[in-house]
Symmetry: C2
Subunit: 185 residues, 2 copies
DNA sequence: ACCTGAACACCGTTCAAGT
DNA sequence: ACCTGAACACCGTTCAAGT
């Protein structure tokens, strides 16, 4: 139990930061607090991250990987709800990934993670009727907007009427699928 | 040009804060900077706002009013793109309104503004084929997600191919409208 | 009633210095 | 190579005091 971090301080900081993020939100996530939890001085993190935003970017990259797993392990018909459920389970992480605090272009790894995510979603939503890239963009937009508006609380009443956020999401996405089925019938 | 703010300090602070928000983003928007621009001491704002988040909430309320105007002054068929265009013109304001930093329930005026906005959008998107509240929720989700993903830069390449963000939005929303038209035909 | 100024407890970031 | 501690320039927020 030496207080020495032989090269794993970066990982320790990421884990501490991840816990702060998920439990208390980005606002409460300071480099100094992460350092404190990792048992290290407040300036030590600068050996491993350029600045606070770089730490946040690393957490967002993790998030894209988590999202990808959550989506692809589901059968095709459930992937729309899976996207929304990911946002409901990891609201703070989801907001960090898509909240605009981090510009993709500023962080090469984040940029790559974002593009990988897009490619993955295009495949995942193929069954949603994507005869064209535009349809994939529309499908992503639909689930993404739904997730965000639910997190914001804009559908609070409708959610109660539907028996929960996930159930409401299923209804909304189901209504679109029905419309599409009617069209192709 | 007396330095005395006869009751309009609240308005002066809101205006200064609005400028900081739109030009430099939420992160740069401190109470102290707003006070500085209003020519007042750093503790004066506390006479008019409970805390920093209350100032942000007031700016978000303004935003919902701006959004409502931007939408309703357009013909029905353009309201989807109008929503996206609002986000493109006021990205920082839009993120403040929907970025989850402010919980609707914590600010009665913000809560009311959010509900008013929902009602307004339900009317605005009626022509989009809303046979049910679910369809209105889906329409809002679609334009909202599209706006957010464009702001995040996730569609950067597709936008370039389409000749700009607004043009891309038109294409995506148009593709959905086509699908709907085919169904009812 | 409204504003000021000092004060406190936090930050992010830098940098010389230690091992 | 990696970490510490002092230092600096910011914050949000509170509170006694001024007008």
């Amino acid at each position: 139990m030496s207080t020495y971090h032989h090269g794993d301080l970066r990982a320790a900081l990421l884990q501490a930061a991840g816990e702060i993020l998920e439990k208390e939100g980005v606002a409460a996530l300071s480099l100094r607090e992460a350092a404190r939890r990792a048992g290290v001085s407040h300036s030590a993190p600068y050996r491993h991250f350029l600045d606070r935003d770089s730490l946040l970017a690393a957490l967002a990259v993790e998030g894209f990987s988590l999202l990808q797993d959550a989506i692809t392990k589901r059968p095709e018909g459930d992937r729309g709800v899976a996207y929304v459920e990911f946002a409901l389970i990891h609201p703070q992480r989801f907001r960090l990934m898509f909240g605009g605090q981090l510009r993709l272009g500023d962080y090469p790894e984040l940029h790559a993670a974002g593009e990988g995510n897009y490619r993955n979603l295009q495949k995942a939503f193929e069954s949603l009727g994507s005869d064209a890239p535009l349809a994939a963009a529309a499908a992503w937009s639909l689930v993404h907007g739904l997730a965000n508006l639910i997190l914001d609380g804009h559908f609070a009443q409708a959610q109660r009427d539907s028996g929960g956020a996930a159930a409401f999401a299923r209804l909304v996405l189901g209504s679109v699928r029905v419309a599409r089925a009617q069209r192709s019938a």
